[in-house]
């Protein structure tokens, strides 16, 4: 650990982590109450990955994500309101209600449409990075995927090409140990499923504690600098853990209780909160105030989204082909 971020940055990262936590927990309850349509793939427990990776990105940098996108989108700057409205399928959603929970994003802040096909965002992220490189821009692409995606052909085909072409992309595997309900140990012989398979493609990698936002942010800084300076891609494997199931109605019967307890004791939000107090960044009371105001904001956005109008029905057949700016 080379150092702790400035007070301002540390507090900024905590606020974003807490916002993701508050958002995901609220959505979980809305589903339990049967208020929200669709399905959910939640990211609480993985907040340090999202915030650590994306906190220092420029707006002009792009981010690609998966069916578990909420943390990434919020950390990249997609608005809480447009996210919540999308969850309810409302017109003011970031995709106008057409995309839904697995396709959130907002390209105006560099958040690409989230991708619900495992591994499919990987070559697309490389393509976006190629565009930056061909135009001589120094923007980068941060590409998230899960442990399961490392068994997809798209991962290997893309790593081979991206390493060869030195594309400005950071490949980020959030290894939460389970591909849906299957332990990654049942499907991979490697301990580090992404990192151990990066070197063969000439790509450097790091294995990082994905529940430690400072550690993630430091690794991100190194990888982003490499990409931006034209040295090519890096693979970061962030070890983390879902607090919820793979999707709605998943009680995680496949995860040993001791394993869950061990990981839950290393809750990334609580860990970082304790360090903020320990480092004198904020007091317990000050953090409570921040948390309450974020919780209130999330509540307000839920109320707003619930009352917001659905899209007009003809939105269902629009944008099949591009209709212009």
């Amino acid at each position: 650990m080379s150092g702790f971020p400035s007070n301002e940055k540390a507090l900024g990262m905590y606020k974003k982590m807490y916002e993701i936590r508050s958002y995901e927990e609220k959505i979980y309850y809305l589903f339990l109450e049967g208020i929200m349509p669709g399905t959910i793939h939640q990211s609480h427990g993985q907040e340090a990955c999202a915030v650590g990776m994306l906190y220092d990105l420029r707006k002009s940098d792009w981010m690609a994500t998966t069916h578990r996108p909420a943390g990434h989108d919020l950390a990249k700057g997609v608005s809480l309101r447009s996210m919540m409205c999308e969850m309810f399928g409302k017109a003011e959603g970031c995709d106008g209600g057409v995309g839904g929970a697995m396709h959130t994003g907002d390209i105006s802040v560099g958040a690409m449409v989230a991708n619900a096909i495992v591994g499919a965002d990987i070559p697309i992220a490389a393509g976006a990075a190629l565009a930056f490189k061909m135009r001589g821009e120094d923007n980068v692409v941060v590409c998230f995927f899960g442990d399961g995606a490392t068994n997809e052909g798209s991962y290997h085909e893309t790593l081979n090409a991206a390493g060869l072409w030195k594309l400005p992309v950071v490949f980020v595997c959030e290894n939460n140990l389970y591909s849906a309900t299957t332990s990654i140990k049942l499907t991979c012989i490697q301990e580090n499923v992404a990192a151990d398979r990066a070197s063969v493609y000439g790509i450097p990698s790091e294995v990082v504690d994905g529940n430690d936002v400072v550690a993630v942010n430091e690794a991100a800084t190194r990888a982003i600098a490499r990409a931006r300076s034209g040295e090519g891609p890096t693979v970061l494997e962030l070890k983390t853990y879902r607090h919820g199931g793979h999707s709605r109605n998943d009680a995680c019967g496949y995860r040993p209780k001791e394993e869950e307890e061990e990981w839950f004791s290393r809750d990334p939000v609580k860990l970082f909160r304790a360090r903020l107090i320990e480092n004198g960044v904020a007091t317990d009371e000050e953090l409570e105030q921040i948390e309450t105001s974020i919780d209130d904001l999330v509540e307000e956005e839920v109320e707003y989204a619930e009352n917001a109008p659905f899209p007009p029905l003809d939105a269902a057949v629009k944008n099949v082909y591009w209709e212009g700016e």
């Binding site: 396709h103 690409m112 449409v113 490389a126 893309t158 090409a161 939105a315």
Partner: protein
């Protein structure tokens, strides 16, 4: 104005677009390797001399990556023109085409779009079942994709320019027997045309009348357009007039030109090299049955490859791919009704 081949026309279109717009680039396997062929059928040969290997990208044999890179770069302001070598390899990248390219504009509520061209050589040419298929129908089915198939050099240039400038993903089918490239294909036919030197567009969604006739409307594409025209010539001697319409663009499809012709002929014959079952002609047939059955004086007839993979042995291949004789036979039957 010069008489040139389809392969040359495609090259000139791509070259003109690359010269005009820095965001246009070529990508694919063996795209322009010094000493190589220039794709599988010479279209991209020599482009790297003019534009460099940064814009004529030779890739690993990684179809998912190629298609995904096209999608991602297109979303980020580029206009990739990918070469599939053989359309059959489309199956290796179906997710990227059907789940990604086709749906990005929709899922983002129109905030992004995907201007990419997939160049797909198709058609049976004595290469066996996996380098032979006519694959248009798979893509005709997918909302979000455009599907075109020029049958001569004039259309090839004009439609390629339209495709590159189109804001959406275009699956661009090229027939191996129509290229007229230096890579001689047994059974090739002359698809050269007079092609203007300057840029022009052949718009999508517009069919082309190839021969006029009063008795039967024949709708065909690619190689089958040429065979239908040959059949029309032969049947003229028997007093049967075929009006051959080259579909050219399958999505969007020009139903109006077909309807207009049917008002005159009252009989419809559809010819394609794609398999019979749910080939693109099935959509046309059902559209006409649904919307214009009163124009018909006889049942709709279809000539297509039977529902079998493509065999290698030349006589067997010839047996399954619709021939001029089969088109004539179907037309004679229809004329007699």
């Amino acid at each position: 104005m010069a008489v040139i081949s389809v392969a040359e026309a495609l090259k000139r279109a791509i070259e003109a677009e690359m010269a005009k717009d820095d965001s246009v680039y070529c990508v694919g396997e063996d795209e322009d390797i010094p000493g190589g062929m220039g794709g599988a059928f010479t279209v991209t040969k020599g482009l790297a001399d003019k534009f460099g290997f940064e814009r004529v990208i030779n890739t690993p044999i990684s179809e998912i990556m190629i298609a995904g890179v096209c999608v991602g770069s297109a979303m980020n302001g580029m206009k990739p023109v990918a070469d599939l070598q053989y359309g059959d390899f489309l199956f290796c990248m179906m997710d990227q085409l059907c789940n990604q390219a086709a749906k990005m504009c929709y899922m983002s509520n129109g905030h992004v779009h995907v201007p990419m061209v997939m160049r797909c050589p198709i058609g049976a040419t004595h290469r066996g079942a996996q380098h032979a298929q006519s694959l248009e129908s798979y893509f005709v089915h997918v909302p979000g994709l455009k599907v075109v198939c020029p049958s001569n050099a004039y259309d090839a240039k004009g439609m390629m320019i339209s495709a590159i400038e189109d804001p959406d993903p275009v699956i661009f089918f090229e027939h191996k027997l129509l290229y007229g490239s230096s890579r001689n294909e047994a059974g090739s036919i002359d698809a050269t045309s007079e092609v203007p030197d300057e840029e022009y567009k052949v718009p999508f969604g517009k069919a082309a009348l190839r021969t006029e006739g009063n008795d039967i409307t024949v709708v065909a594409n690619l190689l089958m357009t040429h065979r239908a025209v040959a059949a029309a010539e032969n049947l003229k001697k028997e007093g049967i007039g075929l009006e051959v319409i080259d579909a050219r663009s399958l999505v969007p499809f020009d139903y109006d030109t077909v309807l207009e012709s049917l008002e005159k002929t009252g009989k419809l014959l559809i010819v394609h090299e794609d398999n019979y079952r749910l080939g693109w002609g099935a959509q046309l047939a059902s559209y006409i049955a649904e919307n214009a059955i009163t124009l018909l004086d006889a049942p709709i007839s279809r000539v297509a490859t039977p529902d079998t993979p493509i065999p290698f042995s030349p006589p067997l291949e010839e047996h399954v791919i619709p021939s001029i004789a089969r088109i004539e036979e179907a037309a004679r039957k229809l004329a007699a009704l």
